[in-house]
């Protein structure tokens, strides 16, 4: 077959492509922006799994008060924005440490009997163990339930992740964070009198 006999392939002119690009770019930017803004109101996947486990096991409806999440991009922008501002060194160290943070606050409707905290703890364990997390702390005392989970592997001072839940019988606060502890630790260790304070605490 003679290649010259093939029908000519229609080619868009470069100008047309540029036009499409110009039209698509703001749309794409809007989508990315919308996704970024939406992600600020959704917890990370691990925190969501923990929350879902806890809520499901309680067997009651919870009201979400707030759910906020700040990822690398948001926190990076905040860090950059505040780099010229005079900040307390402690606050700056904390800001430099946090890489990702999310917080969710959930409330039981008034009059709802407090759910079984033992069942909540068991459900939280199941949800987090399946994702490779380990419970470091679990406390049930009266109406309160406190849990702290950390990943079972890959923990280093450069990259610490944790999920903390505190439930007081009516309100549940869930915090998830990823941080590089080094700036914070350096700041803490440079504090005069820290050693004496730690000693006093240890002697209690």
């Amino acid at each position: 077959m003679n290649p010259s006999s093939l029908p000519p392939v229609p080619r868009r002119s470069a100008g047309c492509l540029w036009l499409w690009g110009l039209l698509a770019a703001p749309l794409l930017l809007l989508v990315v922006l919308a996704a970024g803004v939406a992600s600020c109101f959704h917890l990370g996947s691990d925190a969501r799994a923990l929350r879902n486990g806890l809520i499901k096991s309680s067997g009651v409806e919870w009201r979400q008060q707030i759910a906020l999440n700040a990822g690398r991009l948001t926190l990076g922008a905040v860090r950059a924005g505040l780099s010229c501002v005079k900040l307390d060194p402690g606050a700056r160290a904390a800001l430099q440490s946090v890489r990702n943070a999310g917080v969710g606050v959930y409330q039981l409707p008034s009059g709802t009997p407090p759910p079984d905290r033992a069942a909540m703890l068991a459900a939280a364990d199941t949800a987090m163990t399946a994702r490779g997390w380990e419970r470091v702390v679990g406390v049930i005392d009266g109406q309160d339930l406190v849990t702290v989970y950390m990943p079972g592997k890959d923990v280093s001072s450069h990259r610490v992740k944790c999920c903390v839940t505190v439930f007081d019988g009516s309100e549940m606060v869930l915090v998830s964070a990823q941080a590089n502890l080094e700036p914070l630790v350096e700041y803490a260790l440079n504090q005069p009198g820290l050693r004496a304070q730690a000693r006093r605490l240890a002697q209690r």
Binding site: R117, A118, V136, V139, D141, G152, V185
Partner: protein, 189 residues
């Protein structure tokens, strides 16, 4: 032909690996307290700090306190259970603690300290030695009949003099006391 040999071999290695993993013995100083579930209305505290977190803590204090970092690195696990006693679980928990003590005795742990107070408080401290110089594990069981049961297990390669020295250095009395008790408990060379 090669494939026919390779696949069964790979499967055999995989199965053996999984088997070894499943059957891998826990460290000699580790005590299985069994599944302890909280009961309604009862206090419950469980803290499990494994070697990954302990080495993180060691990394953090390394520059400031190398002794403390060394001690933290020598510990593999710290497990603390506090279970509040209610009418529902009192008998079961007391029975379980007695069983744990019985098992520790049977497994060759040394029963170092027994304190039985008039109010019924019953404390047992057990140690498992490693190579004549260090402790592979420390287990503490406390029954406070009116309130709670406390179970503590520390696993690692714990050198009593390290604990005592750290206690002296930081002037932390409980650490000094534990260090002294461990020194007494450690086998004499």
């Amino acid at each position: 032909m090669q494939t026919m040999i390779r696949y069964p071999l790979a499967i055999a290695v995989l199965v053996a690996g999984v088997g070894f993993n499943v059957l891998a013995d826990p460290p000699p100083g580790q005590v299985d307290f069994g599944k302890i579930a909280p009961v309604p209305g009862g206090e419950f505290v469980e803290i499990q700090i494994r070697s990954n977190l302990l080495s993180l803590a060691a990394q953090v204090v390394e520059k400031q306190d190398p002794d403390a970092a060394r001690l933290l690195r020598s510990v593999q696990l710290v497990h603390v259970n506090v279970v509040g006693l209610t009418d529902e679980n009192r008998t079961e928990m007391e029975k379980r603690v007695r069983q744990i003590r019985h098992d520790l005795d049977a497994q060759g742990w040394e029963h170092n300290v027994v304190v039985q107070e008039k109010d019924g408080q019953d404390v047992g401290i057990y140690t498992k030695t490693r190579g004549g110089e260090a402790l592979a594990g420390l287990a503490i069981t406390v029954i406070e009949p009116k309130n709670e049961v406390v179970l503590v297990n520390i696993v690692g390669d714990i050198r009593p003099e390290q604990v005592a020295a750290l206690g002296e250095k930081l002037d932390i009395k409980p650490l000094k006391d534990i260090g002294a008790a461990l020194k007494d408990a450690a086998p004499k060379k």
